[in-house]
Amino acid sequence: MPLGPLPAAVPPSWYLTLSAILFALGVLGFLLRRNIITVFMSIELMLNAVNLSFVTFSYVLKRADGHIFSFFVMVVAAAEAAVGLAIILTVFKNRQTLEIDEVSSLKN
């Protein structure tokens, strides 16, 4: 990746590198945070990073298929958010906590 004066346009690999950065940040948040809602938002960040990759590849291959895939990812993310937040609500109703370490009924 050449440094120095900024070129007029950036190659697609820069977009993919940005996607990798965002995905790594999502993994970091997923592993580091203890609040169940923030963990969930880190997952959404990872999904967004993957979407950026899809759209970039769509540009490189000059086909619209990547856009369709990222559309499906959005739909799945919406369904996931609805069910996941309902689960979080139920967990909070039963345990009065959002700490992910205190919800460990399935451990051992």
């Binding site: 900024l6 070129p7 007029a8 346009a9 950036v10 190659p11 697609p12 820069w14 977009y15 993919l16 590198t17 940005l18 990798a20 950065i21 965002l22 790594a24 940040l25 999502g26 993994v27 970091l28 203890r34 809602i37 923030t38 969930f40 938002m41 880190s42 959404e44 960040l45 967004n48 979407n51 950026l52 759209v55 769509s58 540009y59 490189v60 086909r63 619209a64 298929d65 856009h67 369709i68 990222s70 559309f71 499906f72 959005m74 739909v75 799945v76 919406a78 369904a79 996931e80 958010a81 609805a82 069910v83 937040l85 309902a86 979080i88 609500l89 909070f92 109703k93 039963n94 700490e99």
Partner: protein, 166 residues
């Protein structure tokens, strides 16, 4: 101009992403995530994805994030407790994550060694008409299956939120 716009929005996305991970209050994280999604929508526009950029703003930043903020407000979620990082996690975590990122970046540079730069307007296939044609011809079956998925998700959310599970 294209490179400048990319730099601006990439910087916004990365800063908001770091803020998401660093903040301890979930509402700050949620607002950072909205920032990431807005910046990504602008990048989709640069890549010629008009429909996806609009859908990103409407579905992600609009609907899903409102749902998140709504739940955070409803549960009155406060700052999370200071976490105790295990020693191996403290010393191995950052290098492993950097290695993970480095491997992804390396693969990216390998598969796209010298491709033509991204110019705004060079790809016109991302309009709503093109996406719709593709969605209702080639991808008709996945599209219909998606509607079933959404229906199941609605039912699941209602059942989960209504009943007392113990």
């Amino acid at each position: 101009m294209d490179a400048l716009l990319f730099m601006i929005f990439a910087a916004i996305a990365v800063i908001c992403g770091i803020n998401l991970v660093v903040q301890t209050h979930p509402i700050s994280s949620a607002l950072s995530l909205v920032g990431v999604m807005g910046a990504l929508a602008a990048l989709y526009l640069l890549l010629g994805g008009e429909f996806i950029a609009a859908a990103q703003l409407v579905v992600y930043a609009g609907a899903i994030m409102v749902l998140f903020v709504f739940v955070i407000m409803l549960l009155n979620a406060g700052t999370e407790k200071k976490l105790a990082i295990r020693p191996w996690g403290k010393y191995l975590g950052a290098p492993l994550l950097l290695l993970f990122f480095g491997m992804m970046a390396y693969v990216v540079q390998r598969i796209l060694p010298e491709s033509s730069p991204v110019v705004f307007g060079a790809f016109q296939g991302g309009t709503a008409a093109e996406i719709g044609r593709s969605l209702f011809t080639v991808y008709l079956l996945p599209f219909e299956v998606t509607s079933v998925l959404i229906l199941i998700a609605i039912l699941g959310a209602i059942v989960l939120a209504r009943k007392e599970v113990d």
